[in-house]
């Protein structure tokens, strides 16, 4: 191999503490090095030209650039050598800026270190091989998991972009958390009025197939070619026939079923359509409460149903969909606030969550939009809001800020005053975080126009006092203890990752943080990508966020999918593992440890062997360090390549 070495000054960034000319001179003595020079700015246009020219002039077949981190410019220089006709993988970088010149001032030590890094890079390069990517077809359909506002947005954008969309929602209706809200901040728009039309669009769009009351059972395949098994859970109602008339609900004698949609404020019937604008507007029987399913007696709904769609024998059903990309938009759940013993731990009926309060405020909610105390149905006079319940609290393992509670609390304070002009609201807060457009103005309005009393401090205890509650807390601005008589306490409960998020992540082979929120590809630059190609994120599954951000992410994810599908074929990354079939003994250890299911067992002349599915392989190299006989080798990071670096550094 004829290697060219280019040692970059990076202006004075490197040259300031590294004698680049000396590094280049030393490099001339390294095995395989046929040309070495120092250059002012290697990444600049003339710098790159110099490489191209040197490749041609000296017939180089490998290039080492010693400059900044490969995380910065590896792609740049790979393209450069490719322009000169070399394979892009016959290139190595030595990081002599971030790892040398910027972290020490001893010029002698730096120069020596830089020289050794170049030596390592050149040694590795001697073992590099040209790698070529493969082209493969893509299935231009997209699966969107979760029918909240982010999922709806992604679905509609993709469908509008001409893609076939499969939307899977685990409850019986799309709409998510937003559908449960009464109003939205800071405009105090009716939530259902703005979301409703979008939901209808989903139902009517010819490109969208909606599986409600369904969950993802299994995901296999890879970007461009996923295969997804969807479980359609039994509703005991034939949805092809159900018209959503609701007669069954009026006649159902089992009226103590849990009302999930209304957050447990009140009860509902065993057969149920969650709310009037539900999409799809179909009834479902809650088997836990249905007398027919529990005890075999009743069946009134079947008798009254005009279209005869009740089917007590219905079973879960599975359908398989083939898609090319997946958007996870699985949202969030509320933190289980009952861990807070000081707030009663769930023992006081008049301590409720913010989302329960939303349902109470909603005209279509169980109270018809009247604020009533759950304990006695009376209108409250003093309403106390407590913020940061399960947010910014290390003691309950939730150190992060949910981000939108400050805003909805302000909104709820305003709405309280609208509903009950006599009422007095109090808000216990830590800090007001109102960083969106018109947000700060909105919280000020709550304080100034709606007379919400904001108290900066945490609540230490809630005690029952007569038929009301005594809220004791600190006012840290005044430096005093405060006690407020409350008729109703509303907890601004923070967002937790959605129940089941981890299980789905494992199916999708994406990672999640310690709270269960999905990891984006890069916190700044890849906010909706994941590290699994073809899987994108939208909305609160990635972390708590408000509606506009969720919608923006839905659109962003859709644009990523549309961008991906704008090509007819995809190219696989050739830095994948390859199994040497001659060395493989078929023990399957690689198959067992591959996080991506990218290795399969094949039969080769009657012998078991492993084979890498190169489109699925993500190039982590776990198989390579697992295979005892070195049969599986991650290309570009083979044992011999790493050993050559080790040997360049230490072999006495």
């Amino acid at each position: 191999m004829k290697i060219g070495v280019f040692v970059c000054h990076c202006g004075s960034n490197i040259e300031g503490t590294v004698d680049t000319a000396a590094v280049a001179a030393a490099a001339r003595e390294f095995p395989g090095v046929a040309f070495a020079t120092d250059t002012m700015y290697t990444c600049s246009e003339p710098g790159q030209e110099e490489i191209v020219n040197a490749i041609k002039e000296h017939q180089l077949d490998g290039v080492v650039v010693a400059s900044c981190t490969p995380r910065m410019h590896e792609q740049t220089f790979r393209r450069t050598v490719e322009r000169a006709g070399l394979n892009r993988y016959l290139f190595e970088m030595a990081n002599i800026r971030e790892h040398v010149s910027w972290i020490g001032k001893d010029r002698e030590a730096n120069t020596n270190k830089a020289t050794e890094l170049v030596r390592m890079a050149a040694s590795k390069l001697l073992h590099n091989r040209p790698l070529l990517s493969k082209q493969f077809d893509i299935n231009k359909r997209v699966l969107i998991i979760g029918g909240g506002v982010a999922g709806i947005q992604a679905a509609l954008d993709c469908a509008e972009g001409g893609l076939e969309v499969i939307l899977v929602e685990k409850t019986t209706t799309i709409g998510g958390k937003m559908a449960k809200l009464d109003k939205t901040f800071p405009t105090v728009d009716c939530s259902c009025c703005i979301l409703g039309p979008r939901m209808v669009d989903v139902a009517q769009h010819p490109n969208i197939t909606l599986y409600a009351y369904s969950e993802i059972e299994e995901v296999s395949g890879y970007v461009g070619n996923f295969e997804v098994k969807v479980k359609k859970k039994a509703t005991y109602v034939d949805w092809d026939k159900c018209t959503g008339c609701g007669i069954c609900m009026t006649k159902c004698p089992s009226k103590k079923a849990t009302d999930f949609f209304n957050e447990g404020i009140g009860k509902t019937t065993a057969i149920n359509i969650p709310f009037p604008q539900a999409i799809p507007k179909k009834a479902k029987i809650d088997a836990n409460f249905c007398m027919k399913l529990q005890k075999g007696k009743c069946g009134i709904c079947a008798k009254v149903c005009p279209s005869g769609c009740i089917d007590f024998t219905q079973q879960d059903e599975f359908v398989t969909e083939k898609v090319g990309a997946i958007v996870a938009a699985t949202g969030f759940d509320l933190f289980d606030w009952t861990v807070y013993g000081e707030y009663g731990g769930g023992r006081y009926p008049d301590v409720i969550t913010s989302l329960q309060y939303e349902r109470m405020l909603s005209a279509s909610g169980p109270t018809g939009g009247h604020i009533k105390r759950p304990s006695d149905g009376k209108e409250p006079k003093n309403v106390v809001f407590i913020q940061c319940v399960g947010s910014r609290d290390k003691s309950v393992g939730r150190p992060y800020c949910t981000g939108f509670c400050c805003m909805y609390t302000a909104k709820q304070a305003i709405l309280t005053k609208d509903h009950l002009p006599e009422a007095q609201t109090y808000v216990f807060y830590m800090d007001i975080r109102a960083t969106g457009k018109n947000y700060d103005e909105f919280t000020r309005r709550a304080m100034e126009e709606y007379n919400a009393k904001y108290i900066r401090g945490r609540v230490s205890m809630i005690y029952p006092k007569g038929d009301s509650l005594l809220v004791r807390g600190a006012d840290t601005l005044m430096g005093t203890q405060v006690e407020v008589d409350a008729d109703l306490v509303v907890l601004a409960v923070g967002a937790d990752s959605s129940a089941g998020a981890a299980g789905l992540a494992e199916k999708l082979r994406i990672s999640y943080d310690s709270y269960g929120f999905y990891m984006e590809g890069h916190p700044k630059l890849k906010p909706v990508e994941t590290n699994t190609a073809g899987v994108y994120l939208a909305g609160c599954c990635q972390g708590p966020k408000d509606i506009p951000s969720s919608v923006a992410q839905g659109s962003a994810a859709a644009s990523k999918v549309l961008g991906l599908f704008s090509k007819d074929k995809l190219a696989s990354d050739p830095q994948v593992s390859v199994v040497d079939i001659k060395r493989c003994i078929g023990c399957g250890k690689c198959i067992k440890t591959c996080p991506f299911g990218a290795i399969k067992e094949i039969d080769f002349r009657g012998m078991k062997k492993a084979e890498v599915i190169e489109t699925v392989c993500q190039g982590c190299g776990i198989c390579t360090s697992t295979c005892p006989q070195g049969a599986a080798q991650l290309q570009h990071f083979t044992d011999n390549q790493i050993l050559s670096e080790v040997n360049a550094l230490c072999q006495f």
Binding site: K582, R583, C584, I585, G586, C587, G588, K589, K592, T593, K608, T626, P628, Q629, G630, A631, Q633, T638, D639, N640, L643
Partner: protein, 318 residues
């Protein structure tokens, strides 16, 4: 051995359905047995089990895939069979396992050490706890417990853990837990002496790879890293570094898979105390993962799995 006849009868019954049964027979002198491949009825007569049945015959199984193989196993050997099953390197339906209660096997090195040399053994009789060896016309009496292999003292699995035919009465495991004395003693040595120790021991390695080939879990066989150029982990140089490195490869590749049968050390013609490395590895594996290899055919070796929260690994705080 008490159950020898019963075992022979059992094999005789099964042989028509099998290509071969692997057992032991008398070796080249009264102090040695040798693996015995029974293919025909008449081969059965030469079968002998006893304290010289040292070889772990499970080593032969992966090489006989595709054949119907019977195998006679001691308790410790059965763990290797389990481990091979666990790794899908043998098919359960192809293997017929004959178990017997093992009361321990000898360590030839201990006998040699006790007698000076054992080149000319005329006879050997074992009666209850005494071994009588005729050596160049003289009679030497040794206590059996002086010459049993270390692993037998702390043996927890004297009966085959898995078998299709078990002859004799199952016996209870050893209550002694000694056996790791050598490891404990070694770990009391200062670091530099340990380093020097291995250099000295590895110096006499002749790279014959008997340790590897006798190991039932060294399943790479002809594709071992030791002799490969791609990947090129080792040179062929007679250097302590390369020879030592090989033993580290061996020990690490056995981490969580080694059943401590001791074949590596027994096979070593240079008597290098190789088992010490494996014992250390097993001790750490057991402490970290409460895992013992070769007990459960359904288990996954700990280095091929993980837990998100490891009970015994503290996150490194620096």
């Amino acid at each position: 051995m008490k159950y020898q006849q019963e075992l022979k009868d059992s094999i005789r019954k099964a042989l028509p359905g099998l290509d071969v049964v692997i057992a032991w027979s008398a070796g080249y002198d009264p102090l040695h047995a040798t693996p015995h491949f029974i293919r025909r009825e008449e081969d059965i007569d030469r079968l002998e089990i006893g304290p010289f049945s040292v070889h772990n015959l499970a080593t032969y199984l992966p090489g006989l895939r595709g054949k119907k193989v019977g195998i006679v196993v001691k308790g410790c050997d059965s763990r290797s069979v389990i481990e091979l099953l666990q790794e899908n390197l043998i098919n359960r339906e192809e293997v017929t396992i004959f178990g017997f209660p093992c009361t321990g096997v000898v360590d030839q090195t201990k006998i040699r050490k006790a007698l000076g040399h054992t080149g000319k053994v005329d006879f050997c009789q074992i009666a209850s706890q005494t071994v009588v060896i005729g050596l160049g016309g003289e009679e030497h009496k040794l206590r059996l417990s002086k010459v049993l292999a270390d692993k037998c003292f702390s043996c927890q699995y004297p009966n085959a853990l898995i078998s299709d035919h078990f002859v004799g009465e199952k016996i209870s495991p050893s209550v002694q837990t000694e056996g790791d004395d050598d490891l404990e003693a070694f770990e009391k040595m200062p670091m530099d002496e340990r380093f020097a120790f291995w250099q000295k021991e590895m110096d006499r390695c002749i790279r014959c790879y008997a340790c590897r080939n006798a190991c039932p879990m060294c399943v790479c066989r002809d594709h071992c890293l030791a002799e490969s150029r791609d990947p090129h982990w080792l040179s062929q140089e007679d250097s302590v570094r390369d020879k030592w490195m090989f033993q580290l490869i061996h020990a690490y590749h056995l981490a969580g898979r080694c059943t401590e049968c001791g074949e590596c050390q027994r096979a070593c013609p240079m008597d290098i105390p190789l088992l010490l490395l494996k014992k250390k590895m097993n001790k750490e594996i057991k402490e970290l993962f409460q895992y013992e290899a070769g007990v459960d055919p359904e288990a996954t070796p700990p280095l091929l799995s993980f837990k998100m929260e490891e009970e015994n690994i503290n996150e490194r705080e620096w």
